[in-house]
Amino acid sequence: MDDIKTLTLAGALEGLRAKKFSSVELTQALLDVMQPSQADIHAFVTIDAEGALAQAAEADRRRAAGEDAPLLGAPIAMKDNMSVIGQPCTASSRILEGYIAPYDATVTAKLRAAGAIFLGRTNMDEFALGSTTQTSGFGPTENPVARGCIPGGSSGGSAAAVVGGLALAALGTDTGGSIRQPASHCGIVGVKPTYGRVSRYGIVACASSLDQVGPMTKTVEDAALLMDVISGHDPMDATSLDVPVPRLADAWTGADPAKPLVGMTLGLPKEYFGDGLDPEVRALTEAAAKRAEALGATLREVSLPYSPYGIPTYYICMTAEVSANLARFDGVRYGARVPCDDVLGQYLKTRAQGMGAEVKRRVLLGTFVLSSGYYDAYYNRAQKVRTLIKRDFDAAFATCDLLLAPVTPEPAWPLGVYQDDPIRNYLSDVLTVGANLAGCCAMAIPAGATAAGKPVGIQLLGPNFGEPTLFRAAHALELR
């Protein structure tokens, strides 16, 4: 077997198909790296070694019987907010301890049908509320590349698992950058699909109108393999759209290898290159733009004038939805309960003890912006600003095929800092929330590293259902 840390999903599937190694061997190799890494990296909340090996044995039996499937025998890691039947699903919250999911999320069912193996559940910011994976109720995850630093979040466990060689690929969720930002900090690929492209059924909701599930992988090709499995209309999710699903693994076939981006216009949103941008991040992003130009793309500066309002708008819309989505965690039907003689006391204590500080802050903020007397000034206004932000993107995509921008204003920062400075944390989402507010697709790809060796990604953003173009450009631009 090749070095497990660099083995891609595509490479593993090739090896499995060529019978160079079995799924059991592959799974065991990953477990051998994963289990000792838990002590420091702590990428997983739950590891299902026994279940994974049993699924791998079954995949080997199927392959021996002549069967194949798109992901047959490939071990995948799931973020801890994704339902897998019979497994815990805590979204890294103490309040969901004891809960066992009695059903598969639609993406789980699709991966299962494609032959994937579920290794375990990756750590995350509690209920996906955070951008560092430090708000997890079960302790933080460390960045396997930039040691001592955050892996980003909220899908930090998934990013760490992929870059650390603990899983061939993983799924994450992105509400305001929660796939792209950890992908950037860990030097992997992370996709936020168009809203409505991938089913949300069975994913513990953070903010319903912003959440999307997406792949986190070592390469754009791997991301395409997973997207082709998980995309598509789901009757169980009323917000999933019934529109054609083009095969993304074919997105770059036929392109001129020397000039794959000929005919493509990439916009550089000037607001995303403002004063707050770290110089090294700026340099790496500009270098990526130059490479795009060299590969045939036309560059042009564009403006997203309402982006300075992105963070206020996002933190109003998101927390409002969060406050209602998290109301169900009350210790009545499942999860942890703090017993009390009266109902009110049981609610107050169960939620106080089961939820962490960042969750409480956001639930309080969301409750406030919806409350009587403040709804119009905050929630209602934010929905209208969201319209303006969406229009910004519509206007930009009228003149460009894609946008190219940095993912985060700065590289991964050390664990433990800014922990009690919410605004400082919120501002780190400034370049990613736009795509979620507008609903469009976006993707982070590796773009190099700082002098200190911290990975830095860039993001490409595309119009709604512009994934084929997004993947074509990403495939040409990723640094491997």
């Binding site: 699903c89 999710d237 209602a324 919806l370």
Partner: protein, 470 residues
Amino acid sequence: MEYEVVIGLETHVQLKTHTKMFCGCGTAFGATPNSHVCPVCLGYPGALPTLNGRAIRLTVMAGLMLGCEIAKRSRFDRKNYFYPDSAKNYQITQNDAPLCLGGHVDLPGGRTVRLNHIHLEEDVGKLTHRPGCSGVDFNRAGIPLMEIVSEPDLRSADEAIAYLTALREMMIYAGVSDCNLEEGNMRSDVNVSLRPKGQEAYGVKVEIKNMNTFSGIHAALEYEIARQTQALDRGQPIVQETRRWDPDLGETFTMRTKENAEDYRYFPEPDLPPVVLTQEQINAWAKDLPEAPAARRERMMKDYGIPEYDAGVLSADRALADFFEAAAKRSGNGKLTSNWVMAEVLALTAKEGTHVKDSALTPEALGDLLKLLDAKTINGPTAKALLPELFAQGGDPAAIVKERGLGQVADAGAIEPLVDAALADNPKVVADYKAGKQAALGFLVGQVMKRSKGKASPQLVQSLLRDKLS
């Protein structure tokens, strides 16, 4: 002082669907607790709502029946509050953009009650209080409810009941709901206030929550009107509050006052895109709509020449009205058909404890039977004797009459010898008749009928007898 009563009703009507509003769980009443539940209606992590198309269609049909404007774009909202019977601690309802707007209910006697709107929402679970604890059953959680909100147009407890009765009749008629009061299919929140006669501004209103029997609503309203009248007469202000009716004590009690009102933090349900309806869709659903009972009553009076009373009885029951109309069309005699349905058919259904639609009697068979009667092919007694058989076993009346030779004899030449024989055998009765005893004629008719084995035309027999005796 004299006061005017002002009443408005918010009535929750359970829609007749097979599945819940937002998930595929069944809606059967009386099942084992927590046996009709799934991740969606239990509010499990990750579960999402989907829209029951039939619930939308039934609500639109109710709206069309009640003269509402159907919104081309309506929306669901979340109503946030914590309660153990709520699986998500928010209820999915329609706060801002309901499915049906306006509309009205016409009361017998001519008064019209305006509707504000009709919206769709989900029911909550059921709490059972036990010693030292409560139990929650989520079978009912997510059952589709249509909330019909009236304007404050009702002026008495009687009128409120008349409104609910008319509403119930229409909802059953349209097949929108069973409106089974015992199963809680129709529950009302009642808003009531008083104002001095002649004053335009409304008084302070009191809401009485969640009542499911008409007698309870009537009693609660009467109680509340008396309580408010007394308070106002004494110069005590009415407190805006929500009250609970205790049927055992026959009194209302404060549940919560306006100051303690919940802050529901309504906002658009992000998991459900808006409900978008085209005019074509609405028109297609409108085709399934039955005629409203009142309109049908009027039309049946005109089309079949039947009295208002008959039309009222027949139109109140959609299946019976359908039966009558089909039978009347077949017989070609509306009045005769109405008489037979009202007297003979309803007597049989009452005796058998069934509905005519569940009997073997088809409207075509009744129509054919009455056609035979109308054409004097058979006489009345024969028709009456055949009906129970058709009711129990069915069959083709014309074939039965032919097979058993039941056709009546209307040929004077064939009956005359029977008349003569009867006169000859009963000289004393003949003498009585001639002496002025009119009843004697009936006896003689009977004698002739007996001799004809019941097949003679009674009218013909009577006229032949009169001729011979004069």
